[in-house]
Symmetry: none
Subunit: 405 residues, 2 copies
C-alpha cells in the first residue's frame, strides 16, 4: 500500500471533464468474516453470478477503508470513498443526519443525532432504541420536544426514522466540541455531556438542560422515556466533488444520513424508493443527466450489525439479482465495494479490508473471477487505502491529465 497522496488542491489541477460516466456502487458493510461452520464469509456464501462475472471482467483488490486496523464509522468510511482524507476532514454524525432530512442548517448551528431510548427507574439505559418505536410515534414525540428555548438558544427537534431524530441548537456562541450522552451500551446511565474546550462550555450546559427537560417531558411515554444525543457538529467547509473532480455528481441512497453526507460534499441527491430495485431504477432514469453516481445499499450493514449472517447473505444476493439493470446501462467505469466490513460475527463495523472491483475499458483486468474477500486479495489492485478509489475511477474515465512535465 502506498502512503503518498496528492492533496485536493493538486487534484483540482489535473482533473478534466470527459464524456465517460462513473458509477460507484457502495454495498455498506460488505466485508465479513468466515462462518465457523463453513469457513466462508457472507459474500463467499452468497450466490452472486453477476458480481462474479463483473469481477472476471474487472481489476480487483481489497481496500483498507481508512488505515489498517482502524474501524471506521460511516462518515469517515464514506469521506475516504469520495477522496477526502478522513483524518483531516472529520465531521460528527449530527450534521449529515440533519442535512439528510433536509433540515435548513444554518452556519453556526450545532446538530446532534438523537435516539429515543428506554431507561429504567434507576436511570440505566435498558434499550438504546426504545424498542424501535414507529416513525409515527417518533413524529409525535419530536413535536413534544421541538421549539424549546433555553438561554436564548432555540432547539429544533426533527424526525429521522423510527427511534432516530436530530436536535439542532441555534444561538450565539455555540461550539460543537462536546461529548456524547449516548453511552453506546445498555445497563449504564446516559453519560454527562462535557465541554472538550472552554469555548464549548455554553453548548454543553444547554445540551444538558435540554436532556433534563426531555426526560421530564417523556416520563409517561415508556418505552420512549429518554433521549440519547451524539455527534454534535457544525457544517464543515469542504471543497465539493464538483469543484475537485469537475464532475456533475448524483447520489442515490434511501437512508437519510448518506443522503446528507452526499449533499455535504456537493452531490445532487435524487428521489428514490426504499428497495434496491428502486435505487437501480432511479439510476437508469437519471443516467443521461449526470456523469458520476454514488449508489448506496444499506441493508447489508444493518444485517451485519444485527449479527444476522443469513440475512446479510440474502441481501447480497438481492443486490446481485438487481445488477443486470445497472450492467445494461453500460457505465464506462463501474466500481463495486463497501465503506467498511460489518461481519455478522462481530455484530458491528470492523477493520477488515473490503473487496473492490473496477471495470472499465482501460482497467487492465486480472485473473480474479470471483467477487470475494479471498479472491480479491490476490487481485491486480492489491491492497490499498480507499482514499485512492476516486482517482483510480477518474483515471479509468480518462478524466485526469498528466501530472507534471
Amino acid at each position: 500500500m502506498t502512503l503518498l497522496l496528492p492533496d485536493l488542491e493538486l487534484v483540482k489541477t489535473i482533473t478534466k471533464p470527459s464524456p465517460d460516466k462513473i458509477v460507484l456502487l457502495i454495498i455498506d458493510g460488505l466485508g465479513g468474516l468466515p462462518h465457523p461452520q463453513t469457513g466462508k464469509t457472507e459474500l463467499e456464501t452468497a450466490d452472486t453470478p453477476n458480481l462474479d462475472q463483473l469481477a472476471a471482467e474487472a481489476i480487483c483488490g481489497v481496500i483498507d477503508p481508512v488505515s489498517p486496523g482502524i474501524t471506521p464509522g460511516s462518515v469517515p468510511g464514506h469521506l475516504a470513498l469520495f477522496g477526502y482524507d478522513p483524518f483531516s476532514c472529520s465531521i460528527g454524525r449530527g450534521v449529515p443526519e440533519a442535512v439528510g432530512v433536509d433540515f435548513p442548517l444554518e452556519s453556526g448551528d450545532v446538530a446532534a443525532r438523537g435516539n429515543f431510548c428506554t431507561v429504567d427507574e434507576t436511570g440505566l439505559v435498558t434499550d438504546r432504541r426504545a424498542g424501535r418505536i414507529s416513525t409515527e410515534k417518533c413524529t409525535e414525540l419530536c413535536h413534544l420536544l421541538d421549539g424549546l428555548v433555553i438561554e436564548n438558544v432555540e432547539i429544533f427537534v426533527s424526525l429521522v426514522k423510527e427511534h432516530r431524530f436530530i436536535a439542532v441548537f441555534r444561538g450565539e456562541g455555540l461550539e460543537p466540541d462536546i461529548t456524547d450522552s449516548d453511552p453506546q451500551q445498555v445497563g449504564v446511565a446516559p453519560k454527562p455531556i462535557t465541554a472538550l474546550n472552554p469555548q464549548a462550555g455554553k453548548t454543553a450546559n444547554i445540551a444538558t438542560q435540554f436532556i433534563a427537560q426531555a426526560k421530564a417531558t417523556l416520563a409517561g411515554h415508556h418505552p420512549a422515556n429518554m433521549v440519547l444525543l451524539r455527534g454534535f457538529s457544525q457544517r464543515p467547509q469542504f471543497p465539493t466533488v464538483g469543484e475537485i473532480y469537475k464532475l456533475k455528481p448524483a447520489a442515490i441512497a434511501s437512508y437519510p444520513m448518506y443522503r446528507g453526507l452526499a449533499k455535504l460534499v456537493g452531490m445532487e441527491v435524487l428521489e428514490t424508493g426504499n428497495s434496491i430495485e428502486d435505487e437501480m431504477a432511479t439510476l437508469k432514469q437519471n443516467y443521461a443527466d449526470y456523469d458520476f453516481f454514488f449508489l448506496h445499499i444499506k441493508g447489508t450493514d444493518s444485517a451485519g450489525e444485527d449479527g444476522d449472517f443469513d440475512r446479510k447473505v440474502k441481501i447480497i444476493e438481492q443486490v446481485d439479482r438487481a445488477l443486470p439493470s445497472l450492467i445494461d446501462i453500460k457505465p464506462d467505469v463501474l466500481v463495486v465495494t463497501g465503506d467498511h466490513s460489518t461481519p455478522a460475527l462481530l455484530r458491528g463495523h470492523s477493520w477488515h479490508p473490503v473487496p473492490i472491483l473496477l471495470r472499465s475499458k482501460w482497467c487492465r483486468p486480472d485473473k480474479v473471477c470471483q467477487f470475494s474477500e479471498s479472491a480479491c486479495s490476490s487481485g491486480g489492485l492489491g491492497r490499498f487505502p480507499a482514499i485512492h478509489i476516486m482517482l483510480l475511477a477518474m483515471a479509468n474515465a480518462l478524466k485526469l491529465t498528466k501530472f507534471g512535465a
Copy 2:
C-alpha cells in the same frame, strides 16, 4: 502530500482496554535472500513445522520495516514495530544502549555507544571490535576511562558487553547533534567529530578531547588501543505504549539495546536468560501480569551480520522448536515477524520486506500455509509498512473503538 496514518494523539482517543493479550514475537533480521545454490532463503531452508502451522491458521503478509528501499537500523526498525513514526521519532543509538544497561540517564545527558577497537601505528582502524575482547577486559578498560572531567563536563563510561560500552556526557549546555567517530569500516582512520549545528560545538569539542585522552590511556592495551563513538543522543520525549494503547506492556529481550528501547517506550523489562528457551519461560511465568509482550530474539540478526547462512537457519529452527511453549499459552493475538531483513549474503541489515503472520480469533485467515518470504507475499495482509502492525494487533484484540461517527 499526506501520510495516511492516524497520529498518536488520535490513536489515544480510540484505544480501550480489553481482556485479550497480545504477543509480538520479533525474530531480529528475519528476512533473507535466496542461497545461490538452492534458491531458498534462510527461512525457506529452515525446517519450521510450528511456524508453518501458525501461518496456516493466521493471516499473513510482508512488511516494509520503514519504507520501501530503506534499510533501517535497529532503533527505527523497532520504533515502527511499536507504532511510532520512525522518521519523526528518531533517536540515536546511545540512549537505548545506556538505558539498556540501567545507566541512570538524566535529562540533558548526551549518551553515545562506544566500541573498543584496534588501530595500527598510523592510526588506521584494523578491527572495529578489538578482536571481541572479553567482558572482563572491557570492564577493566571502562574503569580506566570512567569519571573523567573535561571543562566541567563529567564523562561516565560503562560496560555493555564484550567490546561494547557507553559513554555519557553530563554538564551544562550539551547538545547531541554531532557526528560519529566510528567510520563503520576498517582501513581508515576514526572520523573527526563535528557539530551539526552551532549549539552542538561544545559537545563536539569535549567528545574530541575525550577520544584523545582515551587513546593516550589505552596506548598499552593492544588490541583495545582506541575507542569509536556513535549515536550521540539525548533521552527523547515519547508518549509511552501504556499511554497510547492503554496496555500494560512487558519486554523480554536478552540484549541490552532492546531492553533499553523497550524501557524508553514505557515497557517493563522482565529479567530473563540468554537462550530462546529462557525467554519463552519468562513469557510463561509472567503471562498473567501483562496484556502485551514484546519478545525479542537476537541470534538471527547476528548470524546474518556474520554472513553465516547455516547458523541463521539453525537459529530459526531453534525458535521453531521453542514455539510450542508459546503456543500452549494461547495468546489471543500472536504476531510473528522481524524488525528488518539481515540476509547472510549481504552480511548486514537490508531493505527487503519481512514476512509477518497474525493469528487471532478475528484475523480472517488466508490460504498461506508456509511462513516464508515467498508464501507470505501472497497473503491476505498484502505488503504494508510495519508501523501499522500495532493497530492491526490492537484491532484483533478488540482494543480499538470505532473511529468517527
